[in-house]
Symmetry: C2
Subunit: 222 residues, 2 copies
């Protein structure tokens, strides 16, 4: 194994350990010592990759943004729905994504900037809504920047309620219902009527992306 | 001052102190000793009203449910909007309501049942949506119990994002935008077109309720 591959794997091991400890203890109570012993790496290795507890948390937070990229769709509202439904699927199935989301919802994580994921997600939605508007998919009064924040905040709330009442077990049907309620207030009826918003959609998109990545040369996969 | 009045005031003083300490420290780190010294009451007085830290937290959580009751509206969707907009206004202006909301969002409050406020809010919305349905205000495919959860979870998300990015300063415009996006997917167009969803509505409803209470005999105010 090349030196660089080893470094990437060590970094990943540390992040996974950090995710686990942050999820169990919360940001404030988590210690670097516990992350070290969970990861089973040396102090030197950890500090080579992450200078502080805050950097570790930012690393976990950033993982939820390393999104598998949804392929271009003809209808941009479908692409937006796919981004949301894919995230719901990954949140249910990937502990690292879950840890990042919970960290961004941790109110007692003093000194940790939790607005980052909201702002970045909002940017992703805004871009798709701008494109949707250019293609006349949106109702005339819609302002993409405002609607992007509505999509991001409401999806965060659905995640939160699902976590509290069912530990994310009902996240997919709840996310599907969110989009069914929200899109008639965003898109023109002729587009909204054709959108695929079912609760099994996220898994389908996930598998589609994996298939597409397999067919591409390794260098193109980032 | 009658004995009972004194007890009510002491209880209120303790709850306000608990709200302050829970908001500053989070549930886990908060101690009864700090709540005692903040409230300036005796240990005996505190334990007379609240048997444990958990009871104190439940007391604060329950305060957000002691809602000022929105008067009956002809259109039940307007009444639902008023409940939501009033809560946004109170959340911005009443520290006790704010502490309850933050406590219900505290992921590290082990042993504290945080689903209560979600379930109770959902019940309030469900009842109004049932009435709206009986009056033909809802789109034909709407299921009140499902839509009630969508309203509650999305509003929680809007509160959360507003807290993170602006410490609630932009909560009222965000709440107003939420309803403008959500209601076209819930109500029939002829009703939705007439709804008053502006960001100043919550304050108006609050003042209306205070005026109505002033005109009633004291016994009727609970």
């Amino acid at each position: 194994m090349a030196k660089q591959d080893r470094a990437i794997r060590t970094r990943r091991t540390i992040l996974q350990a950090a995710a686990k400890v942050f999820e169990e203890r919360g940001y404030q109570a988590a210690t670097i010592a516990e992350i070290l012993s969970t990861a089973g790496v040396t102090k030197g290795a950890l500090y080579f990759h992450f200078g502080s507890k805050e950097h570790l948390a930012q690393g976990v937070l950033n993982e939820q943004d390393q999104q598998l990229v949804v392929p271009d769709r003809e209808r941009k509202l479908q692409q937006l729905a796919d981004v949301v439904l894919l995230h719901a699927y990954r949140l249910q199935s990937d502990p690292m994504v879950r840890a990042g989301v919970r960290l961004s919802m941790d109110q007692h994580a003093e000194g940790l900037d939790r607005s980052g994921p909201f702002v970045r997600w909002s940017g992703v939605c805004r871009e798709l809504l701008d494109k949707a508007q250019a293609q006349d998919e949106l109702l005339p009064h819609i302002v993409p920047s405002v609607t992007a924040d509505v999509v991001v905040s409401t999806f965060a709330g659905v995640q939160y309620m699902s976590q509290v009442v069912s530990d994310y077990r009902d996240l997919r049907p709840r996310t599907s219902e969110l989009l069914r309620h929200l899109f008639p207030g965003i898109g023109v009826p002729s587009v909204v009527a054709l959108l695929e918003l079912s609760e099994s959609r996220g898994k389908k998109v996930y598998e589609e992306i994996l298939r597409l990545q397999d067919r591409q040369p390794a260098a193109a996969v980032s």
